[in-house]
């Protein structure tokens, strides 16, 4: 199992044609103290680059983008009341599961090493 990363600080775990998507620990710390997470409806169709959730911190509201197109098949609704879980944790930190309509979109994403290197250039 591989975890993929985007420049917008999302992580994505793939199993078959399903993708688990969350935000990275780096993003979480950059946002500051979180106060609110707006989750999408199950069943919504999203295309690559579209925002599907909004996370609000004491500093700002930030949109979370999907790196792949497809249909949202499950939403981790427990996150709304457990914002501390919103991090790079595949068991509890995923926001949505998306059934991918075009798995080839995963091709150009970063692995953990490449992402860590990318993050080190940001500060």
């Amino acid at each position: 199992m591989t975890v993929h990363f985007t420049k917008d600080h999302e992580w994505m775990k793939i199993e078959g044609d399903t993708a688990w998507i969350g935000i990275t620990t780096y993003a979480r710390h950059a946002l500051g103290d979180l106060v609110y997470l707006e989750l999408p409806e199950t069943g919504r169709k999203v295309s690559k680059g579209e925002h599907f959730a909004v996370v609000e911190s004491v500093k700002a509201a930030s949109e979370i983008y999907t790196p792949v197109s497809g249909k949202i098949v499950e939403v981790n609704s427990t996150l709304s009341s457990n914002l501390d879980d919103l991090k790079e944790d595949i068991e509890t930190g995923w926001i949505v599961k998306i059934k991918m309509s075009n798995p080839s979109e995963v091709a150009n994403m970063m692995d953990k090493t490449a992402y860590d290197q990318y993050v080190s250039t940001l500060d």
Binding site: A30, G32, D33, L34, V35, Y36, E56, V58, K59, A60, L122, D123
Partner: protein
């Protein structure tokens, strides 16, 4: 049983009127109407829960509250992208002239010629300073002006039948109101990344533009929110125009350019002017603001209505339907007329040379601060800057001191903090806009406190920095709890 509140020295602890009220205090004594229903539809005062309080208690309550407001009249207010400059008292005197102050918006126009002449003159000054002669004064504030500007662009595209133009380009360093405005007007936002240089580069713009077929326009603030001048803007606006898009200029940072550059020369087609920033009408709780828009002759037919028109020697407001291509009326009556008086007073009292000097001094002040603090704080994009300078907490963060701690320390030293954590593209941003109206002594005091913080961090004396403010009426507030469990209504406990 009497509880003593937290008043010490002359720092008044002021509770709510409802908490002060006592049933044995006589309030204002009004006769109780007998056998007549009250016009408010209520039965009696007591039943709607008005506090029973005497006149002197009520007067003291509001006077004490007024002393708790920190304003530009109290002290240094370097809030970046907000241009908190001194509001000359002359402006206030002009706005209070009975002929202006006591006008009624529905008065016949032959009795309000002076006021209309003033608005017409303000239109002319704004047209001259921006190089954009189509001026509508009615938008009520900056974001309202943005809405007016983008609606103008949209009306122009629709009139030309350009229904395929559905995208507005916005840099990621923009004020949040830019993408919000474009979205409100039904446009899709395409972001231009600026993180690496702090500016919109030609290559990043070209990539966002693509073939330009779907691009309706672009919204850019110049100087931008990193305090930097957009150097490639002329080439960028040329390309945008070739693709059939319009350039919306966000006028929030116009204080750096007045009298030096006309935005029309940079290719701006329409922009708003924050009279309450650049032209010193009060803002920040003291509003109302005022956000006139200025546009090219090409876009003028589409701007909101009404504008003031001069027919030979008389002035009048444009009539409904007189300009059928207009995007419509966005504000009742004349807009914020009192602000028009203040802004024109400011312009006329400064004159052409004075306004140019305003921009020059604003830029020099920001560069003075940058030059004094650049060895103590991380500077994300090398200077010189324009009218505001951008620092970050990168160096201090290694010792656990963040932008928030630095801002709170400034409060401890009796200053309003700078803009923090904005622009969003810069981690731990501190955006400092001193404005031209501060004295060097005031700038030096700010620099001194900032240097002291940096030295404390270097020496490891960070504990107190996390506790500030300690002298303010309130200590650090629980921002998370305030956002998650807002308590907005007082209830009898």
């Amino acid at each position: 049983m009497t509880q003593i509140d937290d008043t010490r020295g002359l720092d008044y602890h002021e509770s709510l009127l409802w908490e002060k009220a006592r049933s044995d205090t006589p309030g204002v004594d009004l006769p109780t109407p007998e056998n007549k229903p009250l016009r408010t539809g209520q039965n009696a005062r007591a039943e709607i829960g008005l506090p029973q309080i005497s006149e002197p208690q009520a007067v003291r309550h509001f006077v004490r509250l007024s002393t708790k407001n920190y304003s530009i009249d109290h002290g240094f207010f370097p809030l970046g992208s907000c241009t908190m400059k001194h509001n000359p008292r002359l402006n206030e005197k002009m706005a209070r002239l009975p002929g202006f102050a006591h006008l009624h918006p529905l008065q016949p126009m032959e009795t309000t010629q002076g006021a209309l002449a003033l608005m017409c003159e303000l239109q002319r000054w704004l047209g001259e300073l921006t190089g954009l002669p189509g001026v509508c004064l009615t938008p009520a504030a900056g974001a309202h002006g943005e809405l007016a500007g983008i609606m103008t662009i949209r009306a122009a595209h629709l009139h030309k039948g350009h229904h395929h133009k559905t995208v507005i380009l916005v840099p990621d360093s923009a004020h949040g109101t830019n993408p919000a405005t474009a979205a409100m007007c039904g446009y899709t936002i395409r972001t231009i990344p600026t993180r690496e240089t702090g500016r919109v580069t030609l290559s990043a713009f070209k990539e966002a533009l693509g073939d330009g077929y779907d691009v309706a326009g672009m919204m850019v603030t110049n100087p931008n929110t990193c305090g930097l001048f957009e150097k490639d803007i002329r080439e960028i606006s040329d390309l945008l125009h070739k693709a059939g898009g319009y350039f919306y200029g966000d006028g929030a940072n116009f204080n750096a350019l007045v009298g030096k550059i006309r935005p029309s020369d940079l290719g701006v087609d329409v922009m708003h002017i924050n009279l309450h920033k650049t032209f010193s009408t009060p803002h920040g709780g003291g509003g109302p603001g005022s956000g006139p828009i200025c546009c090219t002759p090409e876009l003028a037919p589409y701007m909101p209505t009404p504008i003031v028109i001069k027919d030979q020697n008389t002035y009048r407001l444009e009539q409904a339907g007189e300009r059928p291509t207009s995007c419509g009326q966005l504000k009742g009556f004349h807009g914020q007329f009192g602000m028009h008086v203040r802004a024109l007073s400011y312009m006329m009292s400064h004159g052409k040379d004075g306004l140019k000097r305003v921009s020059e001094d604003a830029v020099i002040h920001a560069n003075y601060i940058l030059s004094q603090l650049q060895d103590d704080y991380h500077v994300p994009y090398a200077g010189p800057c324009m009218h505001e300078c951008l620092l970050t907490d990168k160096i201090q963060k290694e010792k656990g001191v963040t932008t928030l701690d630095i801002a709170k320390t400034l409060i401890e030293y009796g200053m309003h903090p700078m803009t923090v954590y904005f622009p969003l593209v810069v981690q731990g941003a501190m955006l400092i806009e001193p404005t031209e109206t501060e004295s060097q002594a005031e700038l030096d005091r700010f620099i001194h406190v900032m240097k002291m913080v940096a030295q404390d961090v270097t020496a490891g004396r960070t504990d107190t920095l996390h506790t500030y403010p300690v002298s303010a009426p309130r200590r650090r507030l629980d921002e998370v709890k305030a956002a998650k469990e807002p308590n907005l209504r007082w209830k009898v406990s």
